[in-house]
Symmetry: C2
Subunit: 151 residues, 2 copies
DNA sequence: ACCGATCGTTGAAAATGTCAATGAGTTATT
DNA sequence: AATAACTCATTGACATTTTCAACGATCGGT
């Protein structure tokens, strides 16, 4: 509630450059990322570890490989993230049901608790970051992004 | 032209997780980034240096500080990027017109040439990456992203 | 039983991100 | 006119993230 946050439109946004979707995506992503990480700091989480925890809480019983694919991260990064969360007692690795190579990442009760509180903080973050968009614009943005990704 | 690129919808995209705009943004960005960098490799450029070159060619006469703000990069990263481009004779630093502290980044004729060819490659990239979206959906996505950024 | 592929893991190298400090130049205050 | 506070580009140090190649264990097909 710090008064009005004047959104400054930089001079460079005038040019055709600002029609480059990749650039827009990058900017929005950079801003959101910094924002999210700040909000998650009080929980000892970062965007990445939050996403992993989130999926571990989803009931989807994700495999580490699935996490890597879905989060667009290298498998080795998932190892590091899960190591950290596991070391803090927030998730556990369980052997895959049908394939003993794979490991399913599950949240512990404590992980569920932390996720619950962190999730509300994230929701506020998202609402604030996209406050310039009307609710229907927001859902339409979601739809477009999903379509771009998965058709 | 390797036949049909079946877009696989991962199992995890089913959950509520896939409504997280930050996550969608991150995924789309990661995919696009890899794609763009591969396409730019033949020009000896990366996404970053291409963006700088692009703005140097825009006629907007960007200051290094403006580049940093607009591209959401630390000023020191701009220095490195411009150093590289300048060393290859693609851009030059010119003293600011009114403020002698600032340096304007301008493309050399050779920079313009390289940019021209790289730009068409990037256009193809973007078209391919968003082939799942109809033209009007694409412009609507652009509009929403810009609105989210600058109101 | 064998062969090629996949999963998680490790470790190293490259790229990026973050931060503090500095000299030159500007603006504001007095 | 002199000073103080601030901004710009730059440097260098450091952490984080990304990218790759390898490896043991396991799986699937033959």
């Amino acid at each position: 509630m710090s008064g009005h946050d004047e959104v400054v439109i930089p001079r460079l946004a005038e040019g055709a450059v600002a029609n480059d979707i990749g650039l827009l995506l990058a900017k929005l992503r950079a801003a959101g990322s910094e924002f999210n990480n700040k909000a998650l700091a009080e929980f000892g989480l970062r965007e990445r570890s939050y996403s992993v925890l989130r999926l571990a809480c989803s009931g989807l019983e994700p495999t580490q490989r699935e996490l890597a694919d879905f989060l667009a991260l290298d498998p080795s990064q998932i190892v590091a993230l899960v190591d950290d969360l596991e070391g803090r007692g927030l998730v556990s690795r369980e052997q895959g049901r049908t394939d003993r190579r794979q490991k399913i990442v599950l949240a512990t009760p404590e992980g569920e608790r932390l996720h619950a509180t962190a999730e509300t903080a994230m929701r506020e973050c998202e609402a604030e970051q996209f406050s310039a968009l009307a609710p229907d614009e927001l859902t339409s943005l979601r739809t477009l992004l999903r379509k771009a990704l998965w058709g």
